[in-house]
Each structure stands twice: as structure tokens, then as C-alpha cells.
Symmetry: C3
Subunit: 305 residues, 3 copies
């Protein structure tokens, strides 16, 4: 497998075979197997320049199940790193003998930039940087779709609804869907929340959410950051819910066996209604469970053997 | 044992046999035994919606001695959970494969409420919620009394002095004392800090602290939150100390072999004097030590086997 | 070895043999050996009354490699300890069964003071207190010098440049250098940042940094806290860099094989230039790596067997 012993920086340009190998290994872990010996004695540090307790916990659980030693460094709140560059912080912790870094960063492409300064044996996992990529979220979304709908993505109709412009989740999902051969991907968002053309390569833009959802197998909705209102990109939460919220009524337009996904944390009543979030079509908690399995596969692939 | 595989939400209505079984198991652990295999591979999360580093550490140490994997989530300071309900936070971490939750919450009866939404295999331990209950503190207090005074609670005279109204510790203690057969329990507090009649069931209210302490085997004093003064419930710290503080002079009114307990952290010079806190009658550090043993018993009972 | 089973409070008055025994053991660990069984089942708590994520991580990694259970208590930000004395906080966590404490404190000589109140089996490691001592930093600096320059310190010319007055690192370094037999130690700092005569015992004070560095084997530079400017102790960062900054030009005055050290985190462009920090003479990351090895040796010596 060509990802073995490599950083995980992005899903852009990842070969289908590499992606599927990661998903297969994640599937194995999602069925419950621990592998305490795989990373035994290896130190993994969660190095978060932007806080995200939930993603940190998921990686931490994955590392525990592989037997790694975990160190947590919340650089966003650490006073000791004031005035220190992220490169110096990283290289210092690397010098302590840490082999794997799970990095969250506010800045676009920061993890790729940081990968240039570490030693060959050190591996970086991108846990979300700026608006660029969140590859483990992309992988867990694909695993979730595959479990629900099988592995032939070319047969699927998929809608992605919401703030795609600011979403690293959507960027990683779109890369992975293309790699896995999805051909009917519709994106739906207010004009102000649509990204550039390159991000949308191979997708259909559909202004009307009802049309976007119609006949789909999978509806992926995204978190609406409340700051989009202050920025004037969204007129009101009520309007957004009316125009883009995923409700039971809207889900009736999708296929009867359609599933709904959300990367969390949810704004209930805004991008998704309670009935959908907690209903039988929701795979939202399955996504969270798959997150641990995917991160086990990713850590093992980067660091083991 | 009927508590096996159950949540620990409250000591109210716990059967004497269940209580004694937990205390017996805690006694075993208090004598030093680790049981690293008991929760090996099982993930326990401390999920604190109200901060309490000390209680968290005690549970964490207990989980380590049982071989569990520990995850800490300080929901009180986490930015990622802003706008997310406690139910969603809990269910998300549950979906990561966490089996046991140690929950601290600001809200009365919150842990019982949360126990309705989890999967059958998931077990919740109440680490203090609102003013309702703090069952592991109640248990460790009972263990401490039993070690000092034997297991026939019907022979004991016990005084509880201080802010009972706002104290989940006192509520859990009173439940446990009743269950274990204590018949002479005196409570003493300013009128403004006395709870409702149901909480006081089976107790004697004694306005005068000297009379409350007279002839007792056990004096339990409680932390006075400084905010009680701002709320006008206590006139001044000096007055409180004079009227309710446990001092060497007051302890001379108790039995010569009487013991003193406090749930910590202490306000020295307010509810308790230095001489008493650090004197030979003080069991305060013994309570802390017993806390780990009790939490081992509780975690093992809820999660093992 | 006479340090076995003792606190590590200071390097002042440590016998040369004890110091060398610790360095020898650290050298062993720096060559990569883990010893997971050494502290297995033993709980070590990082108890930081002053925040320092980086030092905490280094001790945590050391404890992991020895198989200890680690608990972290950031007393600086804990709300539960408000109004509680440091003695009560320490004794409470001690009562939970914690055997080793790694303590960072704002106050001079605090760790020695705290060592008076613990049980005989409890061992304290000073992780930096006030301006007094930072013994593990002193040890890791000595290990780094020894690896680079051999173990005959009497042959070495060493310059220490910067804010020695406020530096516990410099105090520990000076004690260790004296104990190991160094005879040519020059200190260089603005008048306002020079310490008392006792601290400088056996050193030469050199006002001019070029003269201080001339012909040296080792140049140790210190972090300049920006608050020194607000206190009026330093006129400007630009002036400081011009007069005391370690630059490539200045390093040309040292021996060609001279090495440069810094305790981190660096203010690049102030006390050290980028070219020196990242150049071939820099041992800064080697110091960090040695920190873990030294802390393993210190924890093992205090707590094992």
C-alpha cells in the first residue's frame, strides 16, 4: 500500500486504491478489533493550534486502541508557546521522541507546510487545517456511505448541502467522492457559500435544495457557523433553515432508503431538524463511530511497522 | 449484587445490601490491591459540565488502577460544544466506543436525565450534579466512618454542620446514613442553609452547634461557598466561624475518640480551624484516599464482567 | 547512589558523584532504552502551579517510557483549588495514592518547602520554582555538553549570556558546572540582569559579549522575557539583540567547534539569530531530546525499587 509510512495531509490526488485500502482497514477496525501491539511504545501527540476537543478525543481513542502513548498539546491555549512559531513548537515535541503528530490548524495548508520541517521518521496526520482539508473526516464519511450503500459509488446520487465555501469537510468529501468514482454529486448552498470552480469539479450546482435532494441516496448537510450571519453571507437563521435546512418533508423527496449525514456538532433546527437528526435515516452517530476506526487505520498506516 | 451492570445515579433508595457490597469491595481496594485486568480495553470518559479537577483526578486514578483507558472531556471549557446539547455531547463520545461516563453537572438530577438516552451497555456514574447527589462522596464518607467506628451505624451519634441546603454531599450522606441504619443524626446550620423536610427525614435539627456536637462520634462539616454571603444567606465569615466553625474547643464537647470529616476543599478558619483540620481526630485525608477505593468499586461494579 | 529514593529539589550542593550517576543513567536512556517495568503501577502527578506545557510534556513522556501512570493537575487554571493552599492541594493528591510529584511553582524555593509536608514514600521533583532552581534543566544541559565535549569540564570554556538574574535555568547550570569541575565560566548580561555574588561564585563577569564568547567551547544563551522591558531593565529588544544577541558573527569569535545552547522557547531575532538557532552549531533540539532522558533518570532514581 503506497500510503504506508507516509503523512496524511490531504485527500486531493489520493489514488483510489490507496483510499480503498484505508477504508478496508478501517472497516476491519470498525468491527471491533483492537490491536494494542501495533503502536506499542510509539508516542503520538495531538497538537492542536485550533481547539477541537471532540476530534482530539476520537484520535486519542484510536491511538489507545493501537497501544500508542498519547500526549496532548493544546497549543491554542498554551501560554508557553506565546511568541514561538508553530515550526519550533512541533520540532521541540518531535525532539522529545514523538513519532506521530495529529495536527489541527487555523491556517490553510498548514499541515503540508509543517511536513517539510520534520525528520523522515516523523509522520503528520492532518486533523483539519483552515478551509483546505480534513482528510480523516472525508474518509469516515466514505466508510459510512460504503457501509450503507455498498462500494460502487458510481451508482449513487449524493447531495451536499450547506456552507461548502468555508468547509474543509466538504473539500475532503468531494476529493474522496471523485476518487471513488461518484458521478452524480449535487452541491447546494446560497451563492455566498459556494466555493471556487476547482473545488466543484465534477459536481452539479443546484440552487434549489428540493431539487438537489430529489432522488438522492445520500444527503450530507454541513454545519452553519453562526459567524456567517455577522459576515452578511446569510440573511437569518430562520431563512437558512427554510431554504436549506434538511427536514422530514425534504427527505421525502429523496429515495425512501436515503441516508443523512452531518459532520457535527449540529445546530439543531438550523441546518437539520431534530426529527431528521434523530430519525432512522440518520447516520450521524455511525459517522462518529467510524471516525475512531478510520483514525486507527490512518495512524497504523502512517506509523506501524 | 444488584448494582452490577447498573448506573450509579443516586444513593436515594439504594438498598442496604447494595451499599454494603460496594463498601466491602471498596475496603478491599483501599487495602492496596490493583486489578489492572478488570477494565482492560474498556474506555472511561470523565465528562465534566462543571469543572472539578480533584474529583476528576480521583476517578482517573481509580480507572488507571483497574486498567481502563481514560479520556477526559472538560465540557465546561470546551469551545467545540458551544450550542450543542449535553445529550449530543454524551451520545457523540458514546459513539466513539466509550463504555463508562463519569459525569459532573451543574444541574439537579442531570445524570439521571442523561441515563435515559444512552445505549444499554453504557454506564453512567454521577460525580455530582447540581444540589441533588454526589453518591461516590457519600460512599467514601461511609467507608471512612466504618473504618473508624465499625459497621454498626445504629450505635453512632453523628453531627452534620454547615450549608446542607446547597450540598449534594450532605444529601448523599443523609441517604446513606439512613440506609445503613444510623438513628442519631443531627444537622446544624443557619436557618437559611437548612434544606427541605424530605432531605432531613430521620434527622434532628439542632440550631446550636455546641449541642449538635455534644457526645457525637462523628462530626462532618461542609464547605461554605463564599457566594452564600453575597446572596445574604450568611452575615459574615467571622460570624459563621464563631457560630458554626469546628474548633478544638467545640470538639471537646464530642466524645474523646470522635472523628472529624470534611469533603474538601476546605476554607480553613471558616468552617474548620487549622488545629482540627490537621489534628489527630481529622480523617480528611483518609476520606480522599478512600475516594479512589470507592470509585474503583463503583467503576468495576458498573462496567466489569 | 545517594540520590536514590530522594527528592530532587536543587542542584546546589549536589555531590559530583551523584550528578554524574544521574547523567550516566540519563545517557543510557538517551540511547533509546525504554524501561516500562521500572515504574509500573506507580502514579506520578505533574502538579503545575505555573503553566508550562512543554516541560509537562517532557516529564509525561519520561514517565510513560518508565511505565508509570500519569496524572496532570494544572493548578494554575484549576478553579477547584481557589482559596486552597498549595500544601492542601499537594496532600490531597498524595492521599489519592500518588507517589511522585513533578512540581512547577511561581515562588522561590517552593518545592523544598512542600517537601517538608509529604509522607516519607512520596518524592518531589522540582520542575522549576521561582527564580531558584530548575534542576532537570541543569542536568540536561550538562548531559548535552558532555555528549558534545566529553566529561572533563575543567578543560572547557563556557559563556552564559542573558538574563541570569531572573533565570532558574542559569542558577541550576552554574551549580552543576561548579560541581562538575568547570573553571572557565563567563557570564555576560546587562548590569540590570546580573544576579547576586553568591550565584556568580567561581564565574567571571564579562560586560562585553564578544569578549565573553571569545575562544569558548560552549555558548549558552537565555530567553529574554519581554516583561524585562516594561520593568525598565532592558532598553529595547533591538538594543538587546545588538549588544547580547548570539549571531553568526559573534559565534566566529568562539572556537570553530563551539556549540550553542538555549533552554527554549526561543525569541528568535532577540537573544539568538535564526542562523545560529538552526545552524550546525546549535544543540537546542538535542537539549530537548536529552530532557526526556534526564527526567527518566530522575524519576527512576527517586521512585524505583
Amino acid at each position: 500500500m503506497t500510503m504506508a509510512g507516509k503523512h496524511l495531509l490531504t485527500l486531493a490526488d489520493m489514488a483510489r486504491g490507496d483510499l480503498e485500502a484505508l477504508l478496508n482497514r478501517a472497516q476491519h477496525f470498525s468491527e471491533g478489533a483492537d490491536s494494542r501491539g501495533r503502536l506499542s511504545g510509539i508516542a503520538v501527540c495531538t497538537l492542536f493550534f485550533e481547539p477541537s476537543t471532540r476530534t482530539r478525543l476520537s484520535f486519542q481513542r484510536a491511538a489507545q486502541r493501537l497501544g500508542a502513548d498519547v500526549l496532548n498539546f493544546d497549543a491554542a491555549t498554551s501560554s508557553t508557546t506565546k511568541g514561538e512559531t508553530d515550526v519550533d513548537t512541533l520540532r521541540n515535541i518531535e525532539a522529545m521522541g514523538v513519532r506521530g503528530f495529529v495536527i489541527r490548524h487555523r491556517e490553510d495548508c498548514a499541515v503540508a507546510r509543517l511536513s517539510d520541517v520534520v525528520q523522515p521518521a516523523t509522520k503528520l496526520i492532518n486533523a483539519g487545517d483552515g478551509r483546505s482539508q480534513h482528510p480523516t473526516q472525508g474518509l469516515l464519511d466514505m466508510l459510512t456511505i460504503r457501509q450503507a450503500k455498498g462500494d460502487d459509488f458510481s451508482k449513487l446520487k449524493i447531495a451536499i448541502v450547506g456552507d461548502i465555501k468555508h468547509s474543509r469537510v466538504a473539500r475532503s468529501d468531494l476529493c474522496a467522492l471523485r476518487a471513488l468514482g461518484a458521478t452524480d454529486v449535487r452541491v447546494c448552498a446560497p451563492e455566498s457559500l459556494l466555493p471556487d470552480a476547482e473545488t466543484l469539479r465534477g459536481c452539479t450546482v443546484e440552487a434549489n435544495v428540493d431539487k438537489a435532494v430529489a432522488g438522492t441516496d445520500v444527503v450530507m448537510t454541513l454545519r452553519l457557523q453562526r459567524e456567517r450571519m455577522q459576515e452578511g453571507l446569510v440573511s437569518s437563521l430562520e431563512d437558512y433553515h427554510r431554504d436549506y435546512g434538511i427536514t422530514l418533508d425534504r427527505m421525502k423527496l429523496a429515495r425512501p432508503d436515503a441516508v443523512v449525514m452531518h459532520p457535527g456538532p449540529m445546530n439543531r433546527g438550523i441546518e437539520i431538524s431534530d426529527e431528521v437528526a434523530d430519525g432512522p435515516q440518520s447516520l450521524i452517530l455511525r459517522q462518529v463511530a467510524n471516525g475512531v476506526a478510520v483514525r486507527m487505520a490512518v495512524l497504523e498506516t502512517a506509523l506501524a511497522g
